[in-house]
Amino acid sequence: MEIKNEDYYISYNNETTTINCEGSLRLGGITDYVPVVELFNRVLDMEPPLITFDIRQLQFLNSSGINVLSKFVIKVRQKKNVQMVVQGSKQIPWQGKSLKNLKRLMPSLQLEWM
């Protein structure tokens, strides 16, 4: 599963159960994010025991995108049988500032800085 665009690239690797997001995701609100949300939901429907969310190369994410990511974390939290690791980069300012909020939504979520 993947979404490719001149600004961003999103993919899911079945073997490592990793969602990878790269580039710049600054879409115009909830409707424009529908394909992204659908990809995330398809991953969650498979209920892998662990979802790794690799955003180390995600340079920009707007607040609508933060909303999408946060909603996904809440859905994972509701599953009980799925754990989540978010891999971020301190070299990307928005991540250093905003990723901590995901742990407030799901305390068992692991944040790995790489």
Binding site: S24, R26, T31, F60, N62, S64, I66, N67, S70, K97
Partner: protein, 190 residues
């Protein structure tokens, strides 16, 4: 008539240097214009960092550049997105963003028209933000968004600026020929 909310500073004197960009909100459809917000935000961020010295191979300077570029890009993009979303498309009043560099801060002044019917709702939202624990409000907003798949606006832009970027924000509403324009003023410490 002028109404002020939050923390405002006046636009600097014209004799001082500043950068301003302007858009016509209704010249092309918003969908086509959207990508321009990110490009403009990145341009403004690149412009601002040129004022910060970078000594070759000094990791502190390089980190500072990355940090400033990231915060200016995020805040400018959010402000442009809001201006684009909420401006009155039936009026050709331009959207403008002025950027001002101070000794220890950066000021953003974004002016746009706003639909009359949206003014009261927006002012109520501003008062909610100003009177709340914004960290708690942020989580509350996310939990609310999670249960509502039909919400079209995340309502997170201003809250992330305040909580994660320690931005000071103020709003100035002015009525001009019976139409309302709003200037959003954001100050970021650097």
């Amino acid at each position: 008539m002028i109404k002020i909310f939050g923390n405002i500073i006046e636009k600097p004197d014209e004799s001082e240097g500043y950068l301003v960009i302007g858009f016509s909100p209704n010249s092309i459809p918003i969908q086509q214009r959207w990508r321009n917000n990110g490009l403009s935000a990145d341009f403004l961020a690149d412009y601002i960092i040129s004022f910060f010295p970078k000594t070759k191979n000094n990791p502190n300077d390089i980190d500072k550049h990355i940090e400033i570029k990231g915060i200016v890009s995020y805040v400018a993009n959010e402000l442009l997105e809001n201006a684009m979303k909420f401006s009155d498309k039936n009026w050709s009043f331009p959207i403008s963003m002025q950027l001002q560099l101070y000794e220890n801060s950066i000021g953003f002044f974004v002016t746009n028209s706003i639909l009359d019917k949206s003014v009261a709702k927006f002012q109520t939202y501003i008062q909610t933000i100003l009177g709340s624990d914004t960290e708690a409000l942020y989580i509350e907003q996310l939990e609310k968004n999670a249960t509502n798949d039909n919400s079209t606006d995340s309502g997170l832009g201003l809250l992330t600026m305040i909580n994660d970027y320690t931005a000071k924000i103020g709003w100035k509403f002015e009525v001009n020929n019976q139409r309302t324009i709003v200037t959003t003023i954001v100050q970021l410490s650097i």
